[in-house]
């Protein structure tokens, strides 16, 4: 939908500032009450959910123009959706959806971000949306005895399960190793997953988030065609972004695929529950878990809706409108998995689950404003350290990367927050599994 289509939603903003804080019931003290990295970093109201509704209406009314400054405000947001959850604790409108639409308008008005223009240019060919790749795209599975979905075809892949590694796994060593660990674990459980070795392409979701809707849509269609070609029934991915895009964004863009989409943690937890994987080797570690936004609050299924307000004043609709509020995100499987690893002790951060603080990688910010990405990560790492944990465990390569190297900035990485270790959950599970199934 275009920005103007969200006018009624945006007009519902009453300027209460709930979007700036974790849901008020959950505030446990002075510290860590903020939920929005953007306003926390930039301070001006315009950088909050509510402020964005305000100037968004200014954009619709032609009072505010698409200038570099406007774009700067619009793009300095992780699109983490925390504002949306906090708002919807009490209110009844979409905050996040208009933010996507604003970016689209920005791009349309020639205010896209140059670094992303460059990245997205390669998207048509399925190129990864990663700046300065460290590895060749096939490095991560080079030594793995994993099937190639293309070679074997659907019939030869009895489970018809595709492991989608995602751009980061294809381009960075750390994420590559995690993808390899994931596939190894699945294999251990006796699952014959396949990888689209030659043709896995970017899911396109991050391009959508940066405002390149058309390019993302084209990519989505091509990907879905490819899945059909491969005869895939289920898709598993270790990347929370890819997961959310396949599961939520594609239907939102109208690209139906009929696939069952799983995040690796959901899949692995099922396997552990079924006894097909048993982590046995103790990993003595006090950990805290960072909920990736895309796996957590943003991962509820897309709910298509079109309707009209049925009472003059009350915002109720015909047909009734059900909003996604982050209530039913993937919060438990990763936690249960962690708890299944002997020796691991899980302590929660002040902000978790639906109101977790973002890692800083979201919204393309790592590419557009590394300093802001580093700010957000530093806050999260400090929060993790507050728990007394030795490591922060998460379940998305983007989170892992930005928490390990906040904003990709050397200076940020060297600061105090680097004292805490960062793991992908799959790695830990892998460690606990090494030496036997």
């Amino acid at each position: 939908m275009a920005l103007a289509d969200y006018r009624s939603d945006m007009e519902s903003c009453c300027r209460c500032s709930a979007c700036k804080f974790i849901p008020l019931e959950k505030v446990t003290g002075y510290a860590r009450a903020n939920v929005c990295p953007s306003i926390s970093r930039f301070e001006f109201h315009s950088y909050s959910g509510g402020g964005r509704m305000g100037f968004g209406l200014g954009l619709i009314h032609g009072r505010v123009e698409y200038t570099p400054k406007t774009a700067e405000v619009i793009y300095n947001c992780h699109l983490c959706g925390a504002c949306d959850v906090s708002c919807k604790y009490a209110m009844e409108f979409d905050v996040l959806e208009p933010l996507y639409a604003m970016r689209e308008e920005c791009a349309k008005h020639g205010q896209s971000v140059p670094v992303w223009d460059g990245l997205v240019a390669g998207l048509a060919k399925g190129a990864p949306l990663v700046l300065e790749p460290e590895t060749a795209e096939d490095d991560w599975f080079a030594d793995l005895p994993v099937a190639d979905a293309a070679e074997r075809g659907a019939a030869a892949c009895p489970s018809a399960v595709l492991y989608h590694a995602g751009c980061l796994a294809r381009c960075t060593r750390a994420a590559g190793r995690t993808a390899a660990a994931a596939v190894t674990l699945l294999a251990r459980a006796g699952l014959k997953v396949a990888v689209d070795k030659q043709a896995e392409s970017c899911c396109g979701g991050r391009a959508y988030e940066m405002g390149y809707r058309a390019q993302a849509l084209a990519r989505a269609r091509e990907n879905v065609a490819r899945f059909a070609e491969l005869g895939i029934m289920e898709l598993v991915t270790g990347c929370a972004h890819c997961y959310q895009y396949f599961k939520v964004l594609y239907p939102k863009l109208g690209v139906e695929h009929g696939l069952k989409v799983f995040h690796i943690t959901e899949y692995l937890w099922t396997l552990v529950e079924q006894g097909r994987l048993s982590p046995t080797r103790p990993v003595k570690l006090r950990v805290t878990y960072h909920d990736p936004c895309h796996l957590g609050r943003l991962s509820e299924p897309w709910i298509p809706w079109q309707g009209v307000q049925r009472m003059r004043h009350m915002r109720v609709y015909d047909p009734p409108r059900v909003l996604r509020r982050g209530t039913y995100g993937v919060y438990e499987p990763p936690r249960r998995l962690l708890e299944s690893i002997p020796g691991v002790r899980l302590v929660e951060m002040a902000r978790s689950k639906e109101y977790a603080w973002c890692c800083g990688a979201g919204g393309g910010v790592r590419e557009t404003n590394p300093e802001f990405a580093a700010f957000t990560a530093a806050e999260r790492l400090a929060e993790a350290q507050d728990t007394g944990a030795e490591a922060v465990v998460t379940a998305c390569p983007h989170c892992v990367r930005n928490l390990m190297e906040p904003g990709g900035l050397v200076s940020a990485g060297a600061s105090a927050e680097s004292r805490i270790r960062v793991y992908d959950l799959v790695e830990l599970l892998g460690e606990s599994m090494s030496g036997g199934a």
Partner: protein
């Protein structure tokens, strides 16, 4: 008007360039109207700039620059209220977001010292860790804990935790002329325990039963009285937003919604609750507010309103009892039973027990559902906010306005929330406050009707000698009441003029010095 380069540079020199903006994108973020009493006008005038001072010295320097340049300024804490908006051009906003520290919590003498951008949710949580609690402004945990930001400072716990004007202790005030005045013990000693003296108390100049809505300078720090918290340091919640509930309700807490067939019953009930000092919190909710509080969306609110309305027999009140000990709780519970019996109250079964009850208690104490109760239905909330005095006058006052509201409902001009006016008890019944709430979608027809409604209520207040409503914004409304009310406008203006000789503290919602 836009800022001149010289003005911009001077402001930037105080706060640093990164804390000042006159870009339309930053200005329009604030120009979108608040949902409070929104009328047909979507956008309010823009500020000329948004300035974000970090400390009192910066505020003072900015205020002095405003005097020098003839710029107006308006401060805001969280910026919710529509009275944070400027009335016209030539005004800069002092967004106090960066002043967000809790400076002290004195457990022995039971006060907390906050800067403007500490919100009630934060302060309440910190206090609870120390066995204390505060009166959270009824607007919600999302609002400033500074007892000088909330318009009235009346809240759910006002029965036991006082009200804004009376909870204020020492404070720091940057006058519109750019002087820093530290009231009470702060000025003499640098301590926060008392806001009065030496000699007469300037608290009475800084605010009345309402605050001057930005029109009399900037309050940069203040001490607020806090009270005993009979619960645990924290309460673990289960569930995901918006479905939270305490895993286990702290011992010795109980919530009831009581209703009576007629106002006389409610009057007797509220009076006895006050006299017996058993309530931790009292709020004059009606069926719809109860439903809105519990419901997590509007559809559910409609359904529950219908359900609750069937059980609610007339005017009602929501109350929380909390015991300092098992004995104390038992005593209070038994007294409540007696009052229920004696006054013939009906208790709303739906909130009496289980998760609904427990969750309601927690939302009530943390005042987290106010946004649900007021804004969710339509995105806009307004009405008539009356004064504070005897129960009798408040009750008499709202009876008129209830009829007028019914007429608006009949004409389809406001949300038909099927409710009774709101009346609430402060300081264990020593004072009473009342309001009539309206919700609407602000199209021109509705806006006009709402304005007429308020005008009529105001006329009624004068003709019926009921008192001065709290929501009186700007010269015209004050001037309507002034001649009937000891010419208070004359003195309010004198104060304005004395402390703001250049008229730089933006006064669209307060009063200007012009007689």
């Amino acid at each position: 008007m836009t800022l001149t380069k010289e003005q911009y540079r001077a402001l930037a020199a105080v706060v640093g360039g990164e804390h000042l903006s006159d870009d339309p994108v930053d200005l329009d973020a604030w120009a979108w109207r608040s949902g409070q009493a929104a009328m047909a006008q979507d956008f309010k005038p823009r500020f000329e700039a948004i300035v974000m001072p970090a400390c009192t010295e910066e505020v003072q320097a900015l205020v002095r620059l405003c005097n020098k340049f003839g710029l107006k300024f308006k401060a805001s804490s969280t910026g919710w209220g529509s009275y944070c908006d400027p009335g016209g051009p030539g005004c800069i906003m002092l967004d106090l977001r960066r002043m967000d520290r809790i400076l002290e919590i004195n457990e022995e003498n039971m006060y907390a010292v906050v800067e403007p951008y500490v919100i009630h949710a934060q302060l309440q949580a910190e206090l609870m860790k120390r066995g204390l609690c505060c009166n959270v402004n009824g607007a919600g945990g999302n609002t400033s804990a500074l007892p000088l930001a909330a318009h009235e400072g009346i809240g759910h716990m006002s029965a036991s935790c006082g009200i804004g004007e009376r909870n204020l202790l020492a404070c720091e005030w940057v006058t519109p002329a750019g002087e820093v005045v530290r009231l009470g013990s702060l000025g003499s000693l640098g301590e926060w325990f008392c806001g009065d003296g030496p000699g007469p108390s300037l608290r009475g100049v800084m605010r009345g039963n309402v605050v001057p809505l930005g029109g009399l300078g900037v309050y940069t720090k203040a001490a607020v009285k806090v009270y005993h918290w009979p619960g645990p340091p924290s309460v673990e919640l289960k569930g995901c937003s918006p479905h939270y509930a305490p895993v286990k309700l702290p011992p010795h807490f109980l919530l009831r919604y009581l209703s009576w067939p007629a106002e006389e019953g409610r009057e007797a009930g509220i009076r006895r609750l006050g006299e017996s000092e058993i309530c931790f919190g009292v709020m004059g909710f009606n069926a719809n507010m109860m439903a809105a509080n519990v419901a997590t969306n509007n559809e559910e609110e409609l359904r529950l309103t219908e359900e609750y309305s069937k059980q609610i027999v007339g005017p009602g009140v929501c109350l929380v009892i909390a015991g300092n000990s098992a004995r104390d709780f038992e005593y209070k519970r038994r007294v409540l039973e007696l009052i229920v019996q004696e006054t013939g109250a009906t208790s709303l079964k739906a909130v009496e027990e289980g998760e609904v009850h427990d969750a309601f208690v927690w939302r009530f104490i943390r005042v987290t559902a106010s946004i649900r109760e007021t804004m969710r239905a339509t995105g806009v909330f307004g009405g008539e906010v009356f004064g504070t005095d005897s129960y009798l006058v408040q009750s008499n006052f709202i009876q008129h306005s209830r009829k007028d509201k019914a007429e608006l409902v009949a004409r389809g001009l406001v949300y038909p929330d099927n409710t009774d006016p709101f009346i609430t008890s402060l300081e264990q019944g020593q004072l009473t406050h009342s309001e009539v709430l309206l919700r609407w979608t602000p199209d021109p027809e509705v806006a006009q009707a709402a304005a007429e409604y308020v005008a009529k209520a105001n006329r009624n207040a004068v003709e019926g000698h009921y008192g001065l409503p709290h929501h009186l914004w700007g010269d015209p409304q004050h001037d309507f009441f002034g001649p009937h009310t000891c010419n208070y406008t004359h003195w309010l203006r004198k104060i304005k003029k004395a402390y703001d000789p250049n008229g730089v503290a933006e006064s669209t919602h307060h009063i200007t010095a012009a007689e």
